[in-house]
C-alpha cells in the first residue's frame, strides 16, 4: 500500500509533464488536423533553454530560488514560443492546403532539424544540473518505508495546475480562445466572420510551444538533466496521452497525460523497467484500435 502510494505520487508528477506536452498535440490536431511531429522536440528545446538560462543566472550569483524559477520560466516560455511560431511559419503554413502526407513529412523533417540542431550546438552528452529545489515532506512512515512528497513534486504539480487554470480561462473566456474554437469547427466560416485564421493558428502553435517549454522545465527540475534525444520518446508518449484522452479535447489531454504517467510508473514499479516504453506504445496501439475516439473525444464522422 505504501509502495503503491509512493508510485501514485510519482506517476501523477510524470503525468503532469506528459499532459502539458499533450495539450500542444491536441490543440494543433483540433485546429489544423495534423500531428505536429516536431512538438516533442519543442519540449526538448524548452528544456535546453531553461538549462542555459539557469546556468547564466547561477553564474550571475543569483541564489533566490523563486526568482530563478520565475526568470527561467519566463525566458524559456518566451523563446520556445518563438520556436513554435517559427516552425509553423516555415514548415507547416506553406503546406496547409497541400496533399495529406506533405505536412506530416515536413513535420518529421522539422523534428530531425530541431533535435540535431541542439545536438550540433550543445553537444550530444547528457546535461546534468545540480538540484535547484531540495527537500521534501514525509507523508507517512511505516517501519523503514517512507512515502515522500518532495518539494520538486509539489512545484511541478502546482505549476501544472496554475497553468491549466490560465489556459482554460484563455480558451473559454478570451477573444483568442473563441477564435480558436471557431477555427476548430470551420475555418472557412470563421474566416468569413472576420477571424484571422492564420494568426489564430500561429497563436495555437505559440501557446502549445509555451506549455511544452513548461513541461521541459519541469522535466529538468524533476530529473535534473536534459539531452537532445529526449523529445522523441516523450513526444510519442504525450501523443499517446492526447489520443487516449480523445484528440481535440483539452481536458482529455490532461487526463490522458495523467493516465500515461500512472501506467508507466506502475508498470516500471510492478513489472519491468526495461519494457516501460513498450507498455506505453502498446497502449497507444490498443487505444487506437478499440477506442479511436479516446476517453473524452467526439466520434469522427467521415463525410464523403
Amino acid at each position: 500500500m505504501d509502495y503503491f502510494a509512493q508510485q501514485l505520487i510519482n506517476g501523477l508528477v510524470l503525468g503532469s509533464i506528459y499532459g502539458l506536452i499533450a495539450i500542444g498535440y491536441t490543440m494543433v490536431y483540433g485546429i489544423v488536423g495534423m500531428i505536429n511531429f516536431a512538438h516533442g522536440d519543442i519540449f526538448m528545446i524548452g528544456g535546453f533553454i531553461a538549462l542555459i538560462t539557469f546556468l547564466i543566472l547561477i553564474s550571475m550569483g543569483l541564489t533566490a530560488v523563486p526568482v530563478i524559477l520565475l526568470v527561467v520560466l519566463l525566458v524559456s516560455m518566451a523563446i520556445t514560443a518563438v520556436y513554435g511560431w517559427a516552425v509553423e511559419r516555415i514548415a507547416y503554413r506553406p503546406l496547409r492546403h497541400s496533399f495529406r502526407l506533405a505536412p506530416m513529412l515536413s513535420a518529421i523533417g522539422m523534428s530531425f532539424v530541431l533535435s540535431n540542431f541542439s545536438q550540433v550546438t550543445q553537444g550530444a552528452q547528457v546535461k546534468p544540473i545540480p538540484p535547484l529545489i531540495t527537500g521534501g515532506h514525509s507523508l507517512y512512515e511505516k517501519g523503514d518505508f517512507v512515502v515522500r512528497l518532495s518539494n520538486v513534486q509539489i512545484v511541478v504539480v502546482i505549476t501544472t495546475v496554475v497553468l491549466l487554470a490560465i489556459f482554460t480561462w484563455l480558451v473559454s473566456r478570451t477573444r483568442l480562445g473563441r477564435d480558436m474554437r471557431a477555427c476548430e469547427q470551420d475555418q472557412t466560416m470563421a474566416a468569413l466572420l472576420g477571424v484571422d485564421v492564420d494568426r489564430t493558428i500561429s497563436m495555437t502553435f505559440v501557446i502549445g510551444a509555451a506549455l511544452a517549454a513548461v513541461a521541459g522545465i519541469m522535466y529538468l527540475l524533476y530529473y535534473g538533466l536534459v539531452d537532445f534525444y529526449m523529445g522523441f520518446v516523450a513526444g510519442i508518449k504525450a501523443f499517446t496521452a492526447a489520443v487516449l484522452g480523445g484528440i481535440g479535447s483539452l481536458p482529455g489531454a490532461m487526463l490522458g497525460g495523467l493516465a500515461i504517467g500512472l501506467i508507466e510508473t506502475f508498470w516500471s514499479a510492478y513489472f519491468s523497467v526495461e519494457y516501460k516504453d513498450v507498455a506505453a506504445f502498446s497502449i497507444l496501439i490498443v487505444v487506437l484500435i478499440f477506442m479511436p475516439t479516446g476517453l473524452l473525444g467526439r466520434p469522427e464522422v467521415e463525410k464523403v
Binding site: 553564474s59 496547409r96 530531425f112 540535431n116 475555418q187 510519442i236 479511436p292
Partner: protein, 445 residues
C-alpha cells in the same frame, strides 16, 4: 481550397510583383530578428562540463552574429528569387520541343541506368569504396521499392518499415548462427517471417487511416526495436549479433583455399569477388522487387491497391475487400523489407539494434515520397540522390541528419508531390464520354 477565401490574396499580389526593396529589407530584418531570438541561447551559449563535473558555459557571440547574418542574407536572396520566379507552386510552360526531348530522355533513362548499374562492378572494379557505396544505394533502392508497395501503391503511410528490415536481418542472423542454415535457405524464410509480421501489424491497424496509421506503425517499429534491445538472451541486446555467415555462391564459399569459388574456377582469389557477388545479389533482389511490383500493378490486387489509395470509401463501395487488400499490401511490402534485411545482415556480418532506428524508417519514407510515390524510376533516382547526398557528409556526421531534416522540409515545400515522377493510376478512362440519355435517366452520365 476552402479557407483560401479569406486569405489576403489581393494585398499580397502587388507586393509580390512590385520590386519593393523596402519590403524585402523589412521582411529580412524581421527574419534576422526572429533568428536572433531563436539562436540567442542555443548558439550564443555553449554548455560544457567543467573539471569538477559541474556544467559551465562559454559564449559564442561571433557564431551567433554569423548565423543571424546568414539568415538575413539568405532571406534577401529567397525574397529576390521568389519575385523572379513567382509563387512556389507556379507552373512553368515548357516549349513543346523541349517537352518531347524530355519525354525521349525519360524513356531512355531507365534502360540506360540499368545497363550502367550492371556495368558498375566492371568499371569500378578497383574502387572498393564505390562498390560499397553502390551496394548501399541498391539496398535503399530495394527498401524504397518495397515500401513503395505500401505507401506509393496502397497509400498506407507506414512509419515503421524498418521493423520488417530488422525482422529480416535478425531472422537470418539467428537462423544462420543457431541452426547453421545458409543464406539462400534463410532468404525466403526471412521474407516469410517479415511478411507474417506485416500481417500481424496489418490486422490491428485495418480500421485506422492517415495520421493515426502513421503513428501506430511508428509505435510498432519502436516496439520491435525495444524488444530487440531488451530480449538479451535471444538477440544479444545492444551488443547485437556478430559472426553472421557470409553469403555463398549457392553453396560454394567465396573464400581463399581449396573449396573456394576462386580455386574451383581456377582464378586468383581476391576479396573483391565477394563484394562484386554481393553487388549482383542485391541488384537481383532489387530487380525482383521491381518486377514483382510492376506485375502486381497489372493484376486485380494491384489495381485494388491503387483504388484504395485514391479513395477508400469509393473502393469499398465498389465491392473491393479492403481487409485483404490492405493486408496483402502490408505483407508484400514487409516481405521485401525482410529480404533486404537478410541481405543487410549477411553483408555486414554484424547487426545491432542501432541500425534499425526510426531515422532509417524516415529515410526510406523520404526516398519514396521524394521519388514521387508510386514511380519506380523516381524511387531509384531519389535513393541514389539521398544516399549519395549522405555520403557527401561523411566526416561531418553530426551535421548529416540536420541537413537531411532541412532538405526534407524544403523539398516538401518546394515539391510536395516528389522530385521525380508522379503517381498516376495504372488504369484510367482515356476520355470522358457523354452517355446517351437512353442509358441514364438524368441525362448526362
Amino acid at each position: 481550397m476552402g479557407p483560401d477565401v479569406a486569405a489576403p490574396a489581393p494585398n499580397q499580389q502587388p507586393a509580390m510583383r512590385g520590386p519593393g526593396i523596402a519590403f524585402i529589407l523589412k521582411k529580412s530584418f524581421i527574419s534576422a530578428f526572429v533568428a536572433l531570438i531563436l539562436f540567442s541561447l542555443m548558439i550564443g551559449i555553449r554548455t560544457l562540463p567543467s573539471e569538477s563535473g559541474q556544467l559551465t558555459y562559454i559564449t559564442r557571440f561571433p557564431q551567433l552574429a554569423a548565423m543571424v547574418a546568414i539568415v538575413f542574407g539568405g532571406s534577401i536572396i529567397v525574397e529576390l528569387l521568389r519575385q523572379w520566379w513567382g509563387p512556389v507552386d507556379t507552373l512553368r510552360i515548357v516549349p513543346p520541343q523541349v517537352q518531347t526531348g524530355l519525354g525521349i530522355a525519360r524513356r531512355l533513362l531507365a534502360p540506360m541506368l540499368l545497363i550502367f548499374t550492371f556495368l558498375v562492378p566492371v568499371i569500378f572494379y578497383d574502387q572498393r569504396y564505390i562498390l560499397d557505396l553502390a551496394i548501399l544505394v541498391l539496398t535503399y533502392v530495394m527498401l524504397g521499392w518495397g515500401l513503395n508497395v505500401v505507401v506509393g501503391l496502397a497509400g498506407l503511410l507506414d512509419l515503421g518499415y524498418v521493423a520488417f528490415y530488422a525482422v529480416g536481418a535478425y531472422s537470418y542472423a539467428l537462423l544462420a548462427t543457431t541452426f547453421g542454415l545458409g543464406f539462400w535457405e534463410c532468404l525466403p524464410l526471412a521474407g516469410l517471417l517479415a511478411a507474417c509480421w506485416g500481417v500481424m501489424l496489418g490486422f490491428p491497424v485495418l480500421r485506422l487511416r492517415g495520421d493515426y496509421l502513421a503513428i501506430v506503425t511508428l509505435a510498432f517499429g519502436e516496439i520491435i526495436r525495444l524488444v530487440i534491445i531488451n530480449w538479451q538472451s535471444l538477440t544479444g541486446g545492444p551488443n547485437g549479433i556478430s559472426g553472421i555467415p557470409r553469403p555463398t555462391f549457392f553453396g560454394i564459399p567465396l573464400t581463399p583455399g581449396e573449396n573456394g569459388l576462386a580455386a574451383k574456377l581456377g582464378i586468383d582469389f581476391s576479396p573483391t569477388h565477394r563484394i562484386v557477388f554481393l553487388f549482383y545479389v542485391i541488384l537481383a533482389l532489387a530487380l525482383l522487387t521491381n518486377w514483382v511490383t510492376i506485375r502486381l500493378r497489372r493484376l486485380p490486387i494491384g489495381r485494388a491497391w491503387e483504388a484504395l489509395r485514391e479513395d477508400e470509401v469509393a473502393c469499398r463501395a465498389l465491392g473491393i475487400n479492403t481487409t485483404t487488400t490492405k493486408l496483402t499490401a502490408f505483407a508484400t511490402g514487409a516481405m521485401f523489407g525482410g529480404f533486404a534485411g537478410a541481405f543487410f545482415a549477411t553483408r555486414q556480418g554484424f547487426i545491432s539494434p542501432e541500425s534499425f532506428t526510426f531515422q532509417e524508417s524516415a529515410l526510406v519514407l523520404a526516398i519514396v515520397v521524394l521519388g514521387g510515390m508510386g514511380s519506380q524510376l523516381g524511387v531509384a533516382l531519389s535513393a541514389l540522390a539521398m544516399i549519395g547526398g549522405f555520403e557527401l557528409f561523411r566526416g561531418f556526421d553530426q551535421y548529416r541528419m540536420l541537413v537531411f531534416g532541412i532538405a526534407m522540409v524544403l523539398l516538401m515545400i518546394w515539391r510536395p508531390r516528389g522530385l521525380i515522377g508522379h503517381r498516376a493510376p495504372s488504369v484510367f478512362l482515356e476520355q470522358s464520354r457523354a452517355i446517351s440519355s437512353d442509358l441514364v435517366k438524368e441525362g448526362h452520365g
